[in-house]
Symmetry: C2
Subunit: 295 residues, 2 copies
């Protein structure tokens, strides 16, 4: 697990360096907007999605420099979704990444605009990535847009999630919600790493299989942490799911069974990697990290 720690630290350092360059400074007008973006973006997020881009790219032998813009763009999309999800009209949350949320620190209008423009910037960054051919860039933009969009992407999932609040839904519906809300971007990040590496279609298929399990694992552990951890450890409000009557894995299966399910899904994720004739140790460790994460 030690080299994973080094990998994450190095990943955070290089991604933050990129983000720093892409986002206008706090002295650039409109200052409030840029302060708000930076408040949410540089709040010590885990950078899990960018790390996934880098880990897949590393497994497939891509040059690191070729992966960084896309990885940073995915973190921007993820952060935009957090800023908007936390708004009063949505999850109405006060705490995120251990900080007061963007709309509480600034105001609602600024938070809406900060989220909006983080999305814009994400696509801009990929479109202007001179390390990649035009063909790869448009493929990445199409993939990321589908992962972030509708009808099977992140925004569709968030809409379904909101609509399901307080309702009794089936486990299939729960999986469908999470598959789009959380899974699509995680899958998009992994696929992006493979696309930049010019992996074959068969390899891309395998990466998708792995990432889809990883996304499910991420959501199960997210649900578990919401029940088992404190707000201080999570850096976001704990116990929110039951407070807002959300359907969750522990809600369906209980904490213990959900833990077992997580272990099984983690094994399936690693098993999927066997089909790839590359060194996928780091990817398997990443899945283990998700299984065992404490926040």
């Amino acid at each position: 697990m030690n080299n994973l720690k080094t990998f994450f630290a190095e990943c955070t350092r290089t991604i933050d360096e990129k983000l720093e360059r892409f986002v206008p400074t706090e002295q650039t007008e409109p200052r409030k907007l840029h302060r708000a973006i930076r408040w949410s973006l540089f709040a010590g997020g885990k950078r899990f999605r960018p790390a996934l881009v880098l880990a897949v790219g590393e497994a497939f032998g891509a040059r690191k420099e070729n992966l960084l813009c896309t990885a940073a763009a995915i973190e921007m999309i993820h952060t935009y979704s957090l800023v908007h999800d936390d708004l009063p009209a949505m999850d109405d949350d006060d705490l995120r990444r251990g900080r007061v949320t963007c709309h509480r620190k600034f105001d609602e209008a600024t938070a809406i605009l900060a989220g909006d423009v983080l999305q814009t910037l994400a696509f801009q960054v990929v479109s202007e990535d001179k390390n990649l051919s035009a063909e790869i860039r448009i493929r990445l933009i199409s993939e990321l847009a589908r992962a972030a969009g509708t009808p099977t992407g992140m925004v569709a999932g968030q809409q379904l999630d909101l609509q399901a609040e307080g309702k009794k839904i089936s486990i299939e519906d729960l999986e469908k919600i999470h598959h789009s809300k959380t899974g699509a971007i995680i899958c998009g990040a992994a696929r992006a790493g493979a696309i930049i590496s010019e992996a074959s279609e068969a390899e891309l298929e395998t990466v998708s299989k792995f990432a889809s399990k990883l996304g499910l694992l991420f959501q199960i552990t997210d649900d578990l942490l919401d029940v088992t951890q404190t707000t201080a450890v999570l850096g976001k409000t704990a116990g929110k799911d039951s407070a807002s009557a959300k359907a969750t894995y522990p809600g369906f299966y209980g904490v213990e069974e959900s833990g077992k399910l997580a272990r099984r899904v983690c094994d399936e994720a690693c098993a999927a990697l066997q089909e790839i004739d590359k060194n996928t140790d780091l990817l398997c460790k990443l899945a283990d990290f998700v299984l065992n994460r404490k926040s």
Copy 2:
């Protein structure tokens, strides 16, 4: 003016046909999200920005089929900005394009998500436009992102506009706000038409000069209409600028002088077109249309 009417009607028909194809049906889950998108997108907007893409493209001899996806994408970006601008945290408006606003018809969360995903879809559509080379597609995405983003694009302008409410600002500041809030996308639309036509850099420069005047003209007449027209004619709440203490051209110069300024800016826009060795009649008529519009 008659062939301009035909041009607009034909433009609306073809753009709406494209939009219809790009946006998931109302029967696609999540239905509420797709109903909300369609509510705002198919509300009888003027399609001015797509028309500008087509008019510039026509002047430069582009194939119409090559222009349509980008024109539709720009209308999506414009509509997303309207949906978000109308939110309670921003302009808090009840009426848009003659209809109740998205968040009033559905709910705030759905309106936020509908706007979010319209932006995503815009970039997706351009990235997947098989009529254009990969190089042109990424150039368009970069241009549109800069026009829609920050620090000189639409979102930056909206932030500056909100911050200026109730404050005394200079005419230079007012121009700066509008240049980014309204002008950047209008300029982006015109430039997109020229980029698709593979116009030279010098031609692109001239198109920008024309479009920047057109954008200014659009804003002056917008401010004038807010004062001189009724809500019924505008399809959005009239008299809002003074109600929310916004700086406007009539506020600075009075209605009559603003009208004269508009006429002068319109002449300058058409004069800029003289530098282009193409038939730019339609573009000049488009400027005249903006000068004389009643809504």
